[in-house]
Amino acid sequence: MSGPAHRATDLAALWILRQEEPDWTAEQQAELDAWLDESLLHRAAYLRLREGWRRADAVARDEAPETPDEIQQAAPRRWQPWAMAASIALIFGISGTTWWRAPAPVAPVNFATPIGGHQTIGLADGSRVELNTATAVRAAIDGDMRTVWLDRGEAYFEVAHRNGVPFVVHAGVRKITVLGTKFSVRREGDKVSVAVTEGRVRVEDLSPAKASRAAVITAGDLAIARGGSTLVALGAKEKVEDALAWREGMLTFTSTTLGDAVAEFSRYSSRPILIPDAAVAAIRIDGAFEADNVDAFLRLLSDAYGLRVEQDAKHVRISA
């Protein structure tokens, strides 16, 4: 009786490897589908192996952070539910085949949005970049290399596929190499968050005097890099959706503290919102709000949570 499951698993491993390759074709997918339909043993071996292999993506996380910071301390509590939501999303790696080359000197083009702004720009290669509030990017596109610098703020990228022409986003010391197509990058000081909706990206730390570190994340994953460490949340599909709600002009909160929610709103308004009382800032809220409609949000706080909202020309103050 020994044998068939081992043979099926060996074949499944080859399928999975080839499926991750950039040159995977529709014909190959059809062959794989036929192989999977051939027997339930094939399907069982394939699903099992793919799931186990995919779970090991967690290793993309930094392996030895030198400076444990608050991200890491928060990690076990905050990320556990998403880690449990084991994703079975197929990984279609669409990667550039060319290794990093020194970029040819091209004068970068600048784009920026003001506070509360929201703008989509088209790049020369057909890629699109959607800028959120208070965002500045520079883009240098030529035949060999496509480079975008996110100087501040948040942007969503839809990268046009160009064989052999890498697309790289620099956010501070983080370098994000596009191996797929759709993702967003957000920069707040030295903290960089990357959320992927389609394909794969590689996030690298280019800080001097550090061994090069990289994390590869795929659709539905989120990476948050700060200081010397990168935290990766795999299969965080809902979180990725929340993180991208701004594209519809919305802010989505799922059990978010009032302090964090207010910080989000503050990005869209030049009038700071203050919460002097830590107990009030710790209240957890849920819901979807229009990003540019702070008033509706403040009304909810006073109506539904019984909080006191005081406003003047310069500040908004929330208290119990």
């Binding site: 081992h6 698993t9 491993a13 392996e63 994390a215």
Partner: protein, 188 residues
């Protein structure tokens, strides 16, 4: 008829976390340890087939019932298991507590486990798995980096993937060795 994607999803979400408990159950009730991997997959295949007419309400009971019936049937056919064991099999209920502990353990430890699983691999295997998982290199890129052929990379990656997936699903994560019978067949 349930659509295939929903079945695949259910299988990964609800059935695969049972693997450590299911493996122990099979091992405890079957003499030849080299058959365990096949029996495990036979249970999986039957579970996938049965789910086509509807997903079970209680996956754990469903899967262990399949396992028990399969072992009973194979034992009878093989005529190698004593009558006592068959009786024992039929009365044996899967251990609920062991299962729920496994499930939490496996899900919670993914991050830590992945690193440990890779460290467990033999050196060459570990290197190609690292290039794949951590640096995101394609097979071609990895082959160029290491100065070896694509076949060699694929071979090491296949081995590494099997061992690492096994480890991530709660197994020991050893490199699979061909069973005794396969080795005999090959040497013929």
């Amino acid at each position: 008829m349930i659509d295939a994607e929903a079945i695949d999803d259910w299988f990964c979400r609800e059935v695969l976390p049972l693997e450590p408990a299911l493996t122990r159950y099979i091992r405890r009730n079957w003499r030849q340890s080299e058959d365990v991997f096949d029996l495990l997959h036979d249970v999986y295949a039957l579970a996938l087939g049965g789910a086509r007419s509807g997903l079970p309400d209680y996956t754990q009971g469903y899967v262990f019932t399949i396992a028990r019936n399969l072992l009973t049937q194979r034992s009878r056919r093989a005529r190698i298991v004593s009558f006592e064991l068959i009786t024992d099999l039929e009365s044996l209920e899967p251990d609920v507590d062991i299962f729920s502990a496994d499930r939490n353990m496996v899900a919670r430890d993914d991050l830590r486990r992945a690193g440990a699983g890779i460290d467990n691999l033999p050196p060459r295997c570990r290197e190609v798995v690292r290039l794949r998982k951590v640096e995101g290199l394609t097979t071609r890129e990895a082959a160029d980096r290491l100065g070896v052929g694509i076949d060699a990379v694929e071979q090491q990656l296949t081995k590494g993937m099997r061992a690492l997936a096994d480890f991530m699903l709660g197994g020991p994560g050893h490199i699979a060795r061909p069973s005794r019978r396969e080795r005999q067949e090959r040497s013929k």
